[in-house]
Protein backbone atom coordinates (compact mmCIF):
# COMPACT_ATOMS: atom_id res chain seq x y z
CA UNK A 1 0.00 0.00 0.00
CA UNK A 2 2.83 2.33 0.78
CA UNK A 3 3.89 2.75 -2.76
CA UNK A 4 5.69 5.50 -4.49
CA UNK A 5 3.19 6.81 -6.89
CA UNK A 6 3.75 8.60 -10.10
CA UNK A 7 0.85 10.96 -9.82
CA UNK A 8 1.55 12.96 -12.91
CA UNK A 9 -0.64 15.96 -13.36
CA UNK A 10 -1.85 16.24 -9.83
CA UNK A 11 0.05 17.04 -6.70
CA UNK A 12 3.16 16.14 -8.54
CA UNK A 13 6.13 15.47 -6.37
CA UNK A 14 9.24 15.19 -8.38
CA UNK A 15 12.83 16.12 -8.01
CA UNK A 16 15.95 14.06 -7.95
CA UNK A 17 17.01 14.28 -4.29
CA UNK A 18 13.60 13.44 -2.93
CA UNK A 19 13.59 11.03 -0.01
CA UNK A 20 9.92 11.54 0.69
CA UNK A 21 7.52 9.10 -0.83
CA UNK A 22 5.13 10.81 -3.19
CA UNK A 23 1.40 10.49 -3.03
CA UNK A 24 -1.23 10.59 -5.69
CA UNK A 25 -3.32 13.00 -3.62
CA UNK A 26 -4.01 14.25 -0.09
CA UNK A 27 -6.20 11.26 0.70
CA UNK A 28 -3.35 8.98 -0.29
CA UNK A 29 -1.02 10.77 2.11
CA UNK A 30 -3.59 10.70 4.90
CA UNK A 31 -4.18 6.99 4.42
CA UNK A 32 -0.44 6.42 4.58
CA UNK A 33 -0.15 8.31 7.87
CA UNK A 34 -3.06 6.42 9.42
CA UNK A 35 -1.46 3.12 8.49
CA UNK A 36 1.93 4.21 9.75
CA UNK A 37 0.31 4.97 13.08
CA UNK A 38 -1.50 1.66 13.06
CA UNK A 39 -4.69 3.55 13.59
CA UNK A 40 -8.18 2.57 12.53
CA UNK A 41 -9.89 4.68 9.93
CA UNK A 42 -12.98 4.71 12.15
CA UNK A 43 -11.06 6.18 15.05
CA UNK A 44 -8.45 8.50 13.66
CA UNK A 45 -6.17 10.04 16.30
CA UNK A 46 -6.82 13.34 14.66
CA UNK A 47 -4.38 15.51 16.62
CA UNK A 48 -1.43 13.25 15.89
CA UNK A 49 -2.33 12.68 12.28
CA UNK A 50 -2.92 16.38 11.75
CA UNK A 51 0.51 17.21 13.15
CA UNK A 52 2.22 14.59 11.02
CA UNK A 53 0.39 15.77 7.96
CA UNK A 54 1.65 19.30 8.55
CA UNK A 55 5.16 18.01 9.16
CA UNK A 56 5.03 16.26 5.85
CA UNK A 57 3.95 19.41 4.06
CA UNK A 58 6.72 21.35 5.80
CA UNK A 59 9.26 18.75 4.66
CA UNK A 60 7.96 19.09 1.14
CA UNK A 61 8.38 22.82 1.29
CA UNK A 62 11.91 22.43 2.59
CA UNK A 63 12.95 20.57 -0.51
CA UNK A 64 11.24 23.27 -2.53
CA UNK A 65 8.42 21.18 -3.78
CA UNK A 66 5.45 22.88 -5.13
CA UNK A 67 2.52 21.73 -3.09
CA UNK A 68 -0.72 21.36 -4.92
CA UNK A 69 -3.71 23.24 -3.60
CA UNK A 70 -5.45 20.02 -2.67
CA UNK A 71 -2.81 19.16 -0.09
CA UNK A 72 -3.25 22.55 1.53
CA UNK A 73 -7.00 22.17 1.46
CA UNK A 74 -6.68 18.94 3.37
CA UNK A 75 -4.31 20.52 5.86
CA UNK A 76 -6.89 23.19 6.61
CA UNK A 77 -9.63 20.63 6.90
CA UNK A 78 -7.62 18.54 9.36
CA UNK A 79 -6.97 21.60 11.51
CA UNK A 80 -10.64 22.39 11.52
CA UNK A 81 -11.61 18.88 12.57
CA UNK A 82 -8.91 18.89 15.23
CA UNK A 83 -10.19 22.11 16.78
CA UNK A 84 -13.79 20.99 16.65
CA UNK A 85 -12.84 17.83 18.54
CA UNK A 86 -11.71 20.02 21.37
CA UNK A 87 -14.99 21.87 21.71
CA UNK A 88 -17.00 20.53 24.66
CA UNK A 89 -20.28 21.34 22.90
CA UNK A 90 -19.36 19.12 19.96
CA UNK A 91 -18.27 16.29 22.24
CA UNK A 92 -21.59 16.42 24.08
CA UNK A 93 -23.69 16.44 20.94
CA UNK A 94 -22.43 12.98 20.07
CA UNK A 95 -21.67 14.08 16.56
CA UNK A 96 -18.24 13.05 15.31
CA UNK A 97 -16.45 15.85 13.44
CA UNK A 98 -14.38 13.16 11.71
CA UNK A 99 -17.38 11.49 10.07
CA UNK A 100 -17.03 12.97 6.63
CA UNK A 101 -13.31 12.42 6.60
CA UNK A 102 -13.84 8.78 7.49
CA UNK A 103 -16.32 8.38 4.68
CA UNK A 104 -13.95 9.89 2.17
CA UNK A 105 -11.06 7.74 3.34
CA UNK A 106 -13.05 4.53 3.14
CA UNK A 107 -14.18 5.31 -0.34
CA UNK A 108 -10.68 6.23 -1.43
CA UNK A 109 -9.21 3.13 0.17
CA UNK A 110 -11.59 1.02 -1.85
CA UNK A 111 -10.37 2.73 -5.01
CA UNK A 112 -6.77 2.17 -4.04
CA UNK A 113 -7.40 -1.50 -3.37
CA UNK A 114 -8.94 -1.96 -6.77
CA UNK A 115 -6.13 0.04 -8.38
CA UNK A 116 -3.70 -2.37 -6.73
CA UNK A 117 -5.52 -5.34 -8.22
CA UNK A 118 -5.63 -3.72 -11.65
CA UNK A 119 -1.95 -2.94 -11.35
CA UNK A 120 -1.12 -6.61 -10.84
CA UNK A 121 -3.31 -7.71 -13.72
CA UNK A 122 -1.85 -4.98 -15.86
CA UNK A 123 1.71 -6.07 -15.09
CA UNK A 124 0.83 -9.65 -15.92
CA UNK A 125 -1.10 -9.04 -19.12
CA UNK A 126 0.95 -6.20 -20.52
CA UNK A 127 3.24 -8.76 -22.13
CA UNK A 128 0.55 -10.39 -24.25
CA UNK A 129 0.85 -9.51 -27.90
CA UNK A 130 -2.20 -9.78 -30.13
CA UNK A 131 -1.87 -11.99 -33.18
CA UNK A 132 -1.33 -9.92 -36.30
CA UNK A 133 -1.48 -12.37 -39.16
CA UNK A 134 -2.51 -10.80 -42.44
CA UNK A 135 -5.69 -12.34 -43.84
CA UNK A 136 -4.43 -11.84 -47.40
CA UNK A 137 -7.55 -9.95 -48.40
CA UNK A 138 -7.18 -6.81 -50.45
CA UNK A 139 -5.93 -3.86 -48.45
CA UNK A 140 -8.87 -2.70 -46.46
CA UNK A 141 -9.95 0.80 -45.74
CA UNK A 142 -9.04 1.95 -42.29
CA UNK A 143 -12.11 1.38 -40.25
CA UNK A 144 -13.01 2.30 -36.74
CA UNK A 145 -14.65 0.00 -34.34
CA UNK A 146 -18.15 1.37 -33.80
CA UNK A 147 -17.59 0.51 -30.17
CA UNK A 148 -14.75 3.03 -30.05
CA UNK A 149 -16.70 5.84 -31.66
CA UNK A 150 -17.67 7.92 -28.65
CA UNK A 151 -18.59 11.56 -28.17
CA UNK A 152 -14.98 12.53 -28.35
CA UNK A 153 -14.41 10.70 -31.63
CA UNK A 154 -17.41 12.24 -33.34
CA UNK A 155 -16.58 15.71 -32.09
CA UNK A 156 -12.99 15.38 -33.28
CA UNK A 157 -14.16 14.16 -36.68
CA UNK A 158 -16.35 17.24 -37.01
CA UNK A 159 -13.53 19.58 -36.00
CA UNK A 160 -11.26 17.95 -38.58
CA UNK A 161 -13.85 18.20 -41.35
CA UNK A 162 -14.45 21.86 -40.65
CA UNK A 163 -10.74 22.58 -40.44
CA UNK A 164 -10.23 20.96 -43.79
CA UNK A 165 -13.18 22.92 -45.18
CA UNK A 166 -11.70 26.16 -43.90
CA UNK A 167 -8.34 25.30 -45.45
CA UNK A 168 -9.95 24.50 -48.80
CA UNK A 169 -12.05 27.66 -48.74
CA UNK A 170 -9.82 30.52 -47.75
CA UNK A 171 -11.63 33.81 -47.25
CA UNK A 172 -12.42 35.48 -50.61
CA UNK A 173 -9.81 37.83 -52.02
CA UNK A 174 -10.33 41.51 -51.50
CA UNK A 175 -11.89 43.30 -54.44
CA UNK A 176 -9.16 45.08 -56.33
CA UNK A 177 -9.78 48.48 -57.86
CA UNK A 178 -11.13 48.17 -61.38
CA UNK A 179 -8.47 48.04 -64.01
CA UNK A 180 -10.88 48.55 -66.89
CA UNK A 181 -13.56 51.18 -67.00
CA UNK A 182 -16.64 51.07 -69.15
CA UNK A 183 -16.03 54.67 -70.22
CA UNK A 184 -12.59 54.08 -71.60
CA UNK A 185 -13.62 50.85 -73.28
CA UNK A 186 -16.61 52.58 -74.86
CA UNK A 187 -14.33 55.22 -76.31
CA UNK A 188 -11.87 52.61 -77.66
CA UNK A 189 -14.54 50.34 -79.06
CA UNK A 190 -16.49 53.19 -80.69
CA UNK A 191 -13.30 54.52 -82.24
CA UNK A 192 -12.41 51.09 -83.63
CA UNK A 193 -15.85 50.48 -85.12
CA UNK A 194 -15.83 53.93 -86.75
CA UNK A 195 -12.37 53.52 -88.21
CA UNK A 196 -12.51 49.82 -89.20
CA UNK A 197 -16.18 49.80 -90.27
CA UNK A 198 -16.74 46.31 -88.88
CA UNK A 199 -15.44 44.58 -85.75
CA UNK A 200 -16.05 40.87 -84.96
CA UNK A 201 -17.01 41.02 -81.26
CA UNK A 202 -16.57 37.38 -80.27
CA UNK A 203 -13.15 37.13 -81.83
CA UNK A 204 -12.20 40.28 -79.98
CA UNK A 205 -13.44 38.89 -76.70
CA UNK A 206 -11.77 35.51 -77.17
CA UNK A 207 -8.41 37.16 -77.46
CA UNK A 208 -8.83 38.67 -74.00
CA UNK A 209 -8.07 36.28 -71.16
CA UNK A 210 -8.90 38.73 -68.41
CA UNK A 211 -12.48 38.21 -67.27
CA UNK A 212 -12.74 41.72 -66.03
CA UNK A 213 -11.73 43.09 -69.42
CA UNK A 214 -14.25 40.88 -71.20
CA UNK A 215 -17.09 41.91 -68.89
CA UNK A 216 -16.21 45.58 -69.33
CA UNK A 217 -16.10 45.20 -73.13
CA UNK A 218 -19.53 43.55 -73.22
CA UNK A 219 -21.05 46.26 -71.03
CA UNK A 220 -19.42 48.96 -73.17
CA UNK A 221 -20.74 47.33 -76.33
CA UNK A 222 -24.30 47.10 -74.94
CA UNK A 223 -24.17 50.71 -73.85
CA UNK A 224 -22.95 51.87 -77.28
CA UNK A 225 -25.69 49.82 -78.98
CA UNK A 226 -28.34 51.29 -76.64
CA UNK A 227 -27.23 54.78 -77.52
CA UNK A 228 -27.40 53.90 -81.21
CA UNK A 229 -23.69 54.60 -81.75
CA UNK A 230 -23.05 51.09 -83.01
CA UNK A 231 -25.11 48.36 -84.54
CA UNK A 232 -24.64 44.73 -83.50
CA UNK A 233 -25.67 41.93 -85.78
CA UNK A 234 -25.69 38.16 -85.51
CA UNK A 235 -26.87 36.01 -88.44
CA UNK A 236 -27.73 32.91 -86.42
CA UNK A 237 -27.33 31.54 -82.94
CA UNK A 238 -23.71 31.16 -81.77
CA UNK A 239 -22.41 32.84 -84.92
CA UNK A 240 -20.03 35.78 -84.84
CA UNK A 241 -21.45 39.11 -83.73
CA UNK A 242 -20.43 41.94 -86.03
CA UNK A 243 -20.28 45.48 -84.79
CA UNK A 244 -20.83 48.29 -87.34
CA UNK A 245 -21.28 52.02 -86.99
CA UNK A 246 -24.83 52.85 -85.88
CA UNK A 247 -27.29 55.40 -87.21
CA UNK A 248 -26.24 58.01 -84.63
CA UNK A 249 -22.93 59.68 -84.44
CA UNK A 250 -21.83 60.04 -80.85
CA UNK A 251 -19.79 62.81 -79.38
CA UNK A 252 -17.81 60.66 -76.99
CA UNK A 253 -16.28 63.50 -74.99
CA UNK A 254 -19.62 65.07 -74.07
CA UNK A 255 -21.27 61.73 -73.60
CA UNK A 256 -18.67 60.34 -71.22
CA UNK A 257 -18.55 63.58 -69.28
CA UNK A 258 -22.29 63.34 -68.75
CA UNK A 259 -21.98 59.74 -67.64
CA UNK A 260 -19.39 60.65 -65.10
CA UNK A 261 -21.52 63.45 -63.72
CA UNK A 262 -24.48 61.11 -63.32
CA UNK A 263 -22.21 58.89 -61.42
CA UNK A 264 -23.33 55.78 -63.24
CA UNK A 265 -20.84 53.12 -62.44
CA UNK A 266 -21.95 50.47 -64.84
CA UNK A 267 -18.86 48.44 -64.49
CA UNK A 268 -19.42 48.00 -60.80
CA UNK A 269 -23.08 47.18 -60.94
CA UNK A 270 -22.31 44.50 -63.47
CA UNK A 271 -19.63 42.77 -61.50
Amino acid sequence: MNQVSTGKAEGTLHGPALELPSFSGPLDLLLHLIQKNRAAIYDIPIARICDQYHEYLAAMQEVDLEIAGEFLWMAAWLLQVKSRMLLPAVAESGEDPRAELVERLLEYRRVKELAGILSEVHAMRRGMWPAAVDAGLEPEEVELDWEDVDLEAICRAYVEVMERFAADHPPPLEVLPLRYTVERTMRDLYGRVRSEGMVPLLRLLHTRNDTEEVVTAVVAMLELARLGGIHAEQRKAFAEIYLRPGQRELDMDTLLKEREEHGTRDAESHR
Partner: protein, 199 residues
Protein backbone atom coordinates in the same frame (compact mmCIF):
# COMPACT_ATOMS: atom_id res chain seq x y z
CA UNK B 1 16.79 -23.54 -23.42
CA UNK B 2 14.18 -26.24 -23.76
CA UNK B 3 13.33 -27.09 -27.31
CA UNK B 4 9.62 -26.60 -26.59
CA UNK B 5 10.28 -23.08 -25.35
CA UNK B 6 12.20 -22.28 -28.51
CA UNK B 7 9.32 -23.63 -30.48
CA UNK B 8 6.84 -21.45 -28.59
CA UNK B 9 9.03 -18.37 -29.14
CA UNK B 10 9.25 -19.07 -32.86
CA UNK B 11 5.46 -19.37 -33.08
CA UNK B 12 4.90 -16.21 -31.07
CA UNK B 13 7.32 -14.29 -33.27
CA UNK B 14 5.67 -15.57 -36.44
CA UNK B 15 2.11 -14.66 -35.46
CA UNK B 16 3.08 -11.17 -34.32
CA UNK B 17 5.48 -10.32 -37.15
CA UNK B 18 4.24 -8.30 -40.10
CA UNK B 19 6.61 -9.72 -42.67
CA UNK B 20 8.87 -12.73 -43.23
CA UNK B 21 11.14 -13.75 -40.36
CA UNK B 22 14.54 -15.43 -40.65
CA UNK B 23 16.02 -18.11 -38.42
CA UNK B 24 18.89 -15.72 -37.75
CA UNK B 25 16.53 -13.08 -36.37
CA UNK B 26 14.89 -15.54 -34.02
CA UNK B 27 18.26 -16.89 -32.93
CA UNK B 28 19.38 -13.35 -32.19
CA UNK B 29 16.21 -12.52 -30.26
CA UNK B 30 16.69 -15.57 -28.06
CA UNK B 31 20.27 -14.51 -27.47
CA UNK B 32 21.60 -17.85 -26.24
CA UNK B 33 24.73 -19.32 -27.72
CA UNK B 34 23.43 -22.80 -28.27
CA UNK B 35 20.31 -21.57 -30.10
CA UNK B 36 21.95 -21.33 -33.48
CA UNK B 37 20.13 -20.44 -36.71
CA UNK B 38 20.42 -24.04 -37.86
CA UNK B 39 18.57 -25.24 -34.78
CA UNK B 40 15.91 -22.57 -35.24
CA UNK B 41 15.54 -23.61 -38.86
CA UNK B 42 14.99 -27.19 -37.75
CA UNK B 43 12.35 -26.14 -35.22
CA UNK B 44 10.60 -23.98 -37.84
CA UNK B 45 10.39 -27.02 -40.10
CA UNK B 46 8.80 -28.96 -37.27
CA UNK B 47 6.25 -26.25 -36.66
CA UNK B 48 5.39 -26.16 -40.35
CA UNK B 49 4.73 -29.90 -40.39
CA UNK B 50 2.68 -29.83 -37.21
CA UNK B 51 0.36 -27.08 -38.37
CA UNK B 52 -0.10 -28.55 -41.84
CA UNK B 53 -3.26 -30.55 -41.14
CA UNK B 54 -6.91 -29.99 -42.18
CA UNK B 55 -8.00 -29.09 -38.66
CA UNK B 56 -5.61 -26.15 -38.38
CA UNK B 57 -6.27 -22.67 -39.73
CA UNK B 58 -2.72 -21.42 -39.86
CA UNK B 59 0.29 -22.43 -41.90
CA UNK B 60 3.96 -21.68 -41.49
CA UNK B 61 5.66 -21.39 -44.83
CA UNK B 62 9.05 -20.69 -46.29
CA UNK B 63 9.01 -17.61 -48.47
CA UNK B 64 11.67 -15.52 -50.17
CA UNK B 65 12.86 -13.59 -47.14
CA UNK B 66 12.49 -16.37 -44.55
CA UNK B 67 9.41 -17.81 -42.85
CA UNK B 68 5.96 -16.42 -42.40
CA UNK B 69 2.62 -17.28 -40.94
CA UNK B 70 -0.46 -17.28 -43.16
CA UNK B 71 -3.91 -18.80 -43.45
CA UNK B 72 -4.60 -21.67 -45.87
CA UNK B 73 -5.87 -20.45 -49.25
CA UNK B 74 -9.00 -22.60 -49.21
CA UNK B 75 -10.27 -20.77 -46.13
CA UNK B 76 -10.26 -17.43 -47.87
CA UNK B 77 -14.03 -17.39 -48.61
CA UNK B 78 -14.73 -17.82 -44.91
CA UNK B 79 -12.29 -15.11 -43.92
CA UNK B 80 -13.90 -12.84 -46.45
CA UNK B 81 -17.35 -13.66 -45.09
CA UNK B 82 -16.16 -13.06 -41.54
CA UNK B 83 -14.67 -9.78 -42.60
CA UNK B 84 -18.04 -8.77 -44.00
CA UNK B 85 -19.82 -9.74 -40.81
CA UNK B 86 -17.29 -7.92 -38.65
CA UNK B 87 -17.31 -4.79 -40.78
CA UNK B 88 -20.94 -4.24 -39.87
CA UNK B 89 -19.61 -3.28 -36.47
CA UNK B 90 -17.10 -0.90 -37.97
CA UNK B 91 -17.32 2.51 -39.52
CA UNK B 92 -15.14 4.02 -42.20
CA UNK B 93 -13.47 7.35 -41.66
CA UNK B 94 -15.67 8.83 -44.39
CA UNK B 95 -18.79 7.55 -42.64
CA UNK B 96 -17.65 9.07 -39.36
CA UNK B 97 -17.12 12.41 -41.10
CA UNK B 98 -20.56 12.42 -42.69
CA UNK B 99 -22.13 11.31 -39.43
CA UNK B 100 -20.42 14.16 -37.60
CA UNK B 101 -21.65 16.68 -40.19
CA UNK B 102 -25.22 15.43 -39.89
CA UNK B 103 -24.94 15.37 -36.10
CA UNK B 104 -23.66 18.90 -35.75
CA UNK B 105 -25.51 20.63 -38.59
CA UNK B 106 -28.81 18.81 -38.72
CA UNK B 107 -31.02 19.06 -40.60
CA UNK B 108 -28.66 18.99 -43.54
CA UNK B 109 -28.92 17.99 -47.20
CA UNK B 110 -26.66 15.82 -49.34
CA UNK B 111 -25.51 18.80 -51.47
CA UNK B 112 -24.53 20.59 -48.28
CA UNK B 113 -22.62 17.54 -47.01
CA UNK B 114 -20.88 17.24 -50.37
CA UNK B 115 -19.99 20.92 -50.28
CA UNK B 116 -18.43 20.67 -46.83
CA UNK B 117 -16.51 17.47 -47.56
CA UNK B 118 -15.58 18.50 -51.09
CA UNK B 119 -16.45 15.02 -52.32
CA UNK B 120 -19.55 13.08 -53.20
CA UNK B 121 -20.95 11.40 -50.12
CA UNK B 122 -24.07 9.74 -51.54
CA UNK B 123 -22.79 6.20 -50.92
CA UNK B 124 -21.79 6.97 -47.36
CA UNK B 125 -25.16 8.60 -46.65
CA UNK B 126 -26.86 5.47 -47.92
CA UNK B 127 -24.74 3.29 -45.64
CA UNK B 128 -25.57 5.46 -42.65
CA UNK B 129 -29.28 5.29 -43.53
CA UNK B 130 -29.05 1.50 -43.73
CA UNK B 131 -27.35 1.37 -40.37
CA UNK B 132 -30.12 3.55 -38.98
CA UNK B 133 -27.71 6.16 -37.68
CA UNK B 134 -29.28 8.91 -39.77
CA UNK B 135 -32.81 9.34 -41.15
CA UNK B 136 -34.60 11.43 -43.74
CA UNK B 137 -36.48 14.35 -42.29
CA UNK B 138 -38.42 16.08 -45.04
CA UNK B 139 -37.12 18.12 -47.92
CA UNK B 140 -35.44 21.46 -48.02
CA UNK B 141 -37.52 24.08 -49.84
CA UNK B 142 -34.85 25.06 -52.33
CA UNK B 143 -34.28 24.21 -55.98
CA UNK B 144 -34.31 20.44 -56.42
CA UNK B 145 -35.96 19.96 -53.03
CA UNK B 146 -33.15 17.81 -51.61
CA UNK B 147 -33.84 15.50 -48.66
CA UNK B 148 -32.88 16.70 -45.22
CA UNK B 149 -31.07 14.33 -42.90
CA UNK B 150 -31.04 14.08 -39.13
CA UNK B 151 -29.57 11.67 -36.64
CA UNK B 152 -31.74 8.89 -35.23
CA UNK B 153 -32.81 7.67 -31.83
CA UNK B 154 -30.22 4.88 -32.20
CA UNK B 155 -27.53 7.45 -32.72
CA UNK B 156 -28.44 9.14 -29.45
CA UNK B 157 -28.55 5.84 -27.60
CA UNK B 158 -25.09 4.88 -28.81
CA UNK B 159 -23.61 8.16 -27.63
CA UNK B 160 -25.59 8.24 -24.42
CA UNK B 161 -27.29 11.51 -25.29
CA UNK B 162 -30.79 12.73 -24.65
CA UNK B 163 -30.75 15.36 -27.39
CA UNK B 164 -28.48 16.10 -30.35
CA UNK B 165 -27.84 19.50 -28.74
CA UNK B 166 -25.91 17.71 -25.99
CA UNK B 167 -23.08 16.86 -28.39
CA UNK B 168 -19.83 18.29 -27.08
CA UNK B 169 -18.64 21.67 -28.21
CA UNK B 170 -15.12 21.37 -29.55
CA UNK B 171 -13.94 23.77 -26.84
CA UNK B 172 -15.17 21.65 -23.98
CA UNK B 173 -13.71 18.48 -25.40
CA UNK B 174 -10.26 18.83 -24.00
CA UNK B 175 -10.25 20.09 -20.47
CA UNK B 176 -7.61 22.73 -19.97
CA UNK B 177 -6.35 22.66 -23.50
CA UNK B 178 -8.29 24.72 -26.01
CA UNK B 179 -8.87 23.13 -29.38
CA UNK B 180 -8.72 25.39 -32.39
CA UNK B 181 -12.22 25.85 -33.65
CA UNK B 182 -12.69 26.81 -37.27
CA UNK B 183 -15.10 29.49 -38.17
CA UNK B 184 -18.33 28.38 -39.66
CA UNK B 185 -18.25 28.00 -43.40
CA UNK B 186 -19.89 30.81 -45.30
CA UNK B 187 -23.62 30.42 -45.16
CA UNK B 188 -24.33 32.41 -48.28
CA UNK B 189 -26.15 31.19 -51.32
CA UNK B 190 -23.61 28.46 -52.02
CA UNK B 191 -23.05 27.57 -48.41
CA UNK B 192 -24.35 24.60 -46.51
CA UNK B 193 -27.51 26.32 -45.35
CA UNK B 194 -26.67 27.44 -41.89
CA UNK B 195 -29.82 29.53 -41.63
CA UNK B 196 -31.83 26.57 -42.51
CA UNK B 197 -35.38 26.32 -43.65
CA UNK B 198 -36.77 23.35 -41.83
CA UNK B 199 -39.30 21.03 -43.41
Amino acid sequence: MERETLRAIAEAVLITARGPVTAEQISEAVGEREVEPALVEEVLGEIRDDWDTPHHGLRIERVAGGWRCATPAQLEPYLRAFHGVASRQRLSQAALEVLSIVAYRQPVTLPEINFIRGTNSAGVVRTLLERKLIRMAGRKQVVGKPFLYRTTREFLVHFGLERPEDLPDPEELIPGEPTPVPDDPPTGSAGPGGEDSGP
